[in-house]
């Protein structure tokens, strides 16, 4: 069935499929079991769709039972009552019989006149009314039949015989019908016929076996009664576009970060976490970044206004780290050879690198051990498409007796393959203040081309030994934001943190 026909309402189908070429309410209401309201609705829809057109408008005359007519139907016409009284009670004067039959005297005269003309009653010599014959006249029988038929609906003139028309003319009025058994009513009726499209639709509906009697909605009542049995169900137009559903949903960027976390957990890494506010000690000093290092300038980290300093730095880490900066301590290093500033080290800052958590993990880390964190960091950068005021960093460490440069490269290879899906990998010597040697890993991403996936290295002994770790520690960081942007079809880092609900609702991973 064509999509247009699928959209037809069951009422429309019923009308389209009705027999005959002239479709009118008078002919079809009863047959189709429709109310006049349903008929009007169905025909107006079909007209609108061009499946139906008006053939003609007819003036139709109806005879409707009045209140008087209804009373006569149930209690008898005056003639019937007079005749019955005469038969049951014998000879009476005219006023007597009228009273006995409950007929007003003015009606009584005309009733008696009619009955006597038809030879049913007569006056005897004492002027009493007596029965003269028993066979009811044709007129009386017709009157009775008309009254009875009209009980189930108005009588249409066109449906009455000539004889009936002659009889009903005597007992009906157009106006002032209170004194007649029937009221004459005139109505205009529209007769429709199918257009050629309507004819085609009728044929198609017939071929598809669609009658309009199909079940629309399956209801609990239908199920309970079982009346669905043997019936078919109305076909839906499945080409109608679906309504939009507002779904509860993860943020796609958060989903991506979760995916990376799951990947790292699957590779044997344990997640760490920590506070947003850190000290210069953990953010830089513990990582053996000299306090005069360019990256520790006032213009590179955000300082906390109040309180500006931590109350203290945990011991023994403070003394050990101070010593390693000044002279190398017991690490085999000569240190930076400057006077370590114990006030500066207490300065509170907003965490600027995830590596701070790697440092804090060292005193409590297991050996062998693998740790990671995807943590929010803050940089003193002008906010633009590639720099956020705060952003996620993915960082971690691997501790073990036997880790070395080659296992570092193996680790980077694993990340490149598992996290970035890269097949081509390039390792380049890098520089980070807290690792030596340092390696950058570049990958050819299937979509992004060559880019730096991450930085890594082996923590300097000046970092690990003061924090109680004597085995080599691989430290690594991954830049996954470019992959996130690519997956989400974005080009601006700020978009990852947008408040635009519609944008987030529509966003999906590519």
């Amino acid at each position: 069935m064509s999509a247009d026909l699928q959209s037809l309402h069951p009422l429309e189908i019923k009308v389209l499929r009705a027999d005959g070429s002239e479709l009118s309410a008078a002919k079809l209401l009863g047959k189709l079991g429709l109310g006049i309201g349903q008929w009007n609705q169905a025909t107006s829809w079909l007209l609108g769709k061009g499946l139906l057109e008006e053939k003609e408008r007819l003036l139709r005359v109806f005879y409707e039972l009045t209140e008087l007519g209804e009373a006569q139907r149930t209690g008898g016409t005056p003639e019937e009552r007079m005749l019955r009284a005469a038969e049951e009670r014998g000879a009476m004067s005219l006023p007597e019989i009228a009273a006995s039959a409950g007929i007003e005297s003015r009606e009584a005269g005309s009733a008696f006149g009619q009955l006597s003309r038809e030879g049913l009653l007569a006056l005897d010599d004492r002027k009493r009314v007596v029965v003269a014959g028993t066979t009811r006249s044709k007129r009386m029988e017709t009157t009775r039949a008309l009254l009875d038929r009209a009980a189930s609906g108005a009588l249409e003139e066109a449906a009455l015989s000539a004889e009936e028309l002659a009889v009903i003319a005597g007992i009906s009025r157009k106006r002032g019908a209170g004194s007649a058994a029937f009221k004459i009513a005139e109505r205009e009726e529209v007769v429709y016929r199918l257009t050629s499209e309507g004819e085609a639709a009728r044929r198609q509906l017939a071929e598809a076996g669609s009658s309009g009697e199909e079940i629309g909605r399956l209801t609990p009542d239908l199920l309970a009664s079982g009346s669905w049995r043997g019936k078919s169900f109305r076909e839906y137009n499945i080409a109608v576009p679906p309504a939009r559903i507002l779904v509860g949903r993860r943020n796609p960027y958060a989903e991506f970060l979760q995916w990376v976390k799951d990947k790292l957990v699957s590779l044997g890494f344990e997640e760490f976490d920590g506070p947003l506010v850190e000290t210069e000690f953990w953010n830089g000093d513990a990582l053996f970044m000299p306090q005069f290092h360019a990256a520790r300038d006032i213009h590179d980290v955000y300082y906390v206004k109040e309180p500006s300093h931590a109350k203290a730095i945990e011991q023994p880490w403070l003394d050990r780290v101070a010593e390693v900066h000044e002279s190398g301590g017991a690490t085999g290093s000569r240190g930076w050879g400057y006077r370590f500033d114990r006030d500066f080290t207490r300065k509170l800052i907003l965490r600027s690198q995830g590596t701070v958590l790697s440092a804090k993990q060292l005193p409590k880390a297991r050996i062998p051990g693998k740790y990671f964190g995807i943590v929010r960091c803050f940089r003193y950068d002008q906010v633009d498409a590639t720099h956020g005021a705060d952003f996620y960093q993915t960082e971690g460490i691997v501790l073990g007796e036997h880790v070395n440069l080659r296992t570092l490269l193996g680790l980077l290879k694993m990340f490149a393959e598992e996290v970035a899906g890269a097949k081509e990998i390039k390792y380049v010597p890098g520089y980070f203040p807290f690792t030596e040697p340092s390696i950058e890993v570049h990958i050819r991403h299937p979509k992004l081309g060559w880019f730096e996936l991450g930085g890594s290295g082996i923590f300097r002994p000046e970092v690990t030994k003061p924090l109680g770790v004597d085995v080599p520690v691989l430290a690594w960081g991954l830049g996954i934001d470019r992959m996130a942007l690519m997956q989400l079809g974005l080009s601006d880092l700020r978009e990852l943190f947008t408040g635009d609900l519609e944008g987030v609702r529509l966003r999906r991973r590519g």
């Binding site: 779904v247 344990e270 506070p275 206004k305 309180p307 080659r406 390696i439």
Partner: protein
């Protein structure tokens, strides 16, 4: 990271031969450098090792490649050593005692033997800029001046001068200004004045005849301090606050000029106070100590077998003279480097010399158990519930403005962590609540189909005197419904569901809060402790945000449910 521009011809001449494009890029890795761009006759190179300022110049970078490619390790004969000063030919600098607490150190040398051409002058200025900006921390620990030395009357005096009485014509101007006026009126004075303005006397360099050389670390004089192409005799000085960094910087410039064919003439610096290298230092001065490394240690870190002899050959390619004895190598640190703090630094040079590709990747063999953090595990359960309740998850930034976090919320900044050096007003507070971000989101989302159900699980920070840092970071869950029908009961029902499935009971008590409508706000209790709030957002707050839809919201300390 410093970026330099290198004249291609000069670079190849100094490197010993021309280097093709294909060969150049992998070769630059030896110097942790990357080709950043190319113009006709010009290479743009980015240097990634902030501990190797010797590579930030045409000559320095070329030297690294020349030696790596097999060239001889240069031997510089103009360095003085402990107990072995060079002949100075009467060139000396006398230092004022008052400088000890201002800008105590100076290193210098004279340059002769050929004339400086245009490209050489440009390169010298670039070297000066990179050294003083990146290595010298924007001139605070190192500043450098170059002078035409023919007219200098020795000795040069490094003075602590009266800022108002001392006047000279600075480069770029026509008339004399006092040192103090220079800080105010000269662009360099405005840029670098903060380095000296707190002192009563300012550093000042003049020759024996009283002619001004410069006002370190601000500006040269327009007289002796003006250098042009064609000058045959130069005087180079560096002043600073850290003696060793200063000496290394001076050595770098001297070696670069020597490589280009200039003769370096030492200068004696005489201090009236003690320095770690004595009261008289003839510069350029070599102070570096040899560094030793066990070859077995290097092999362990690199994951390969390595003999001491192999290690010596490797560091040789990196420009280091070394000797093997037993299983140990001793590296004589080149004059222009000061980045050997520990044996690991030798190990890295070995790696660089061999190339990373010489070390096949090896999968880490240790078995470890992967695990999410407890708060991440809990957050995931909460997120799943929120999604099931029909909410869209959001992620927001953690820094914001006082306008958003305080003014619009009707809250004072009490208890919030504020930034002492905000880059702009937009990022001056760390969020103490997620609610402002949820409302900010609603404020820009009125065109999205309603209802709006959004949430975030994320961190907030608050002041908390009980912690050593005076602050505490919490993991919060916040949710917001914006809709014609949004109300207290819906949010309450959602919270109750979340609490139920997290195995807790959501107990609430009536409370009031300026962010919520009075009488439609409740505190959320856990074990008798307040861990959150819920309610209908106050219309004044909605008005502050320009929000037209009624909003109901809640926020809890999710970590408290751990």
């Amino acid at each position: 990271m410093p970026k330099i521009e290198v004249d291609e011809q000069a670079f190849y001449r100094l490197a010993g031969r021309a280097i093709g494009e294909e060969e150049l890029e992998p070769l630059l890795a030896v110097a942790k450098a990357e080709l950043d761009g190319r113009e006709p006759g010009l290479l743009k190179i980015e240097l990634n090792d902030t501990n190797r300022p010797d590579l930030w110049s045409t000559a320095g970078l070329a030297r690294a490649l020349r030696v790596y490619l097999g060239g001889a390790i240069p031997s510089y004969r103009f360095f003085s050593r402990r107990g072995a000063p060079q002949e100075t030919g009467g060139r000396s600098i006398v230092v004022d005692a008052a400088l000890e607490s201002i800008r105590p150190y100076i290193a210098a040398f004279a340059v002769a033997g050929r004339s400086l051409d245009e490209a050489g002058l440009k390169d010298l200025i670039q070297t000066q800029e990179k050294l003083c900006w990146n290595f010298g921390r924007k001139r605070s620990s190192i500043a450098m001046g170059v002078y035409s030395s023919a007219r200098i009357a020795w000795p040069v005096r490094y003075l602590a001068a009266d800022p108002d009485a001392t006047r000279f014509v600075p480069l770029g101007l026509d008339s004399p200004l006092s040192l103090r006026r220079i800080l105010r009126d000269h662009p360099k004075g405005r840029e670098f004045g903060h380095l000296v303005e707190r002192f009563a006397r300012f550093p000042y360099l003049a020759d024996d005849g009283g002619a001004a050389l410069s006002f370190p670390p601000i500006i040269n004089s327009a007289g002796l301090g003006a250098v042009k192409a064609g000058d045959r005799e130069l005087f180079v000085e560096l002043t600073g606050t850290d003696l060793r960094s200063l000496l290394v910087a001076a050595s770098i410039v001297a070696c670069d000029l020597c490589d280009q064919g200039f003769t370096i003439l030492p200068v004696a610096v005489r201090y009236p106070y003690d320095t770690e290298l004595g009261r008289e230092i003839v510069t350029p001065f070599y102070f570096q100590e040899p560094v030793a490394a066990e070859s077995a240690y290097a092999g362990r870190l690199l994951g390969v077998e390595l003999t001491a002899e192999e290690a010596v050959r490797a560091v040789g390619r990196m420009g280091c003279v070394a000797a093997a004895e037993g299983g140990r190598i001793t590296v004589t640190v080149p004059e222009y480097r000061n980045d050997f703090l520990h044996a690991v630094d030798v190990v890295e040079d070995i790696m660089m010399a061999r190339g990373v590709d010489a070390f096949p990747p090896l999968s880490p063999a240790d078995f470890t158990v992967g695990r999410l953090s407890p708060i991440e595990s809990l957050s995931r359960r909460a997120r799943d519930l929120m999604v099931g309740l029909g909410y869209q998850e959001m992620i927001f930034n953690y820094l914001g403005s006082r306008r958003d976090y305080c003014d619009r919320m009707g809250l004072p900044p009490d208890g919030m962590v504020s930034v002492a050096n905000p880059m702009s007003e937009s990022y001056e507070l760390v969020r103490s609540s997620i609610l402002p971000a949820l409302l900010a989101s609603e404020a820009v989302s009125s065109r999205a189909q309603y209802p709006h159900l959004i949430f975030e699980i994320g961190k907030v920070a608050l002041l908390d005197d009980s912690d050593l840092t005076g602050t505490v970071t919490r993991d919060n869950l916040a949710l917001l419904i914006a809709d014609r029908e949004a109300g207290f009961n819906e949010v309450r029902a959602h919270l109750a569901a979340v609490f139920y499935y997290l195995g807790r009971e959501c107990i609430i008590e009536r409370t009031s809060d300026p962010r919520f409508i009075a009488g439609r706000c409740a505190g959320i209790l856990l074990g008798g402790r307040r861990i959150g709030l819920l309610g209908e957002i106050h219309p004044q707050v909605l008005d502050n945000w320009g929000i037209q839809a009624p909003c109901a919201a809640a926020e809890i300390d999710l970590g408290a449910l751990l």
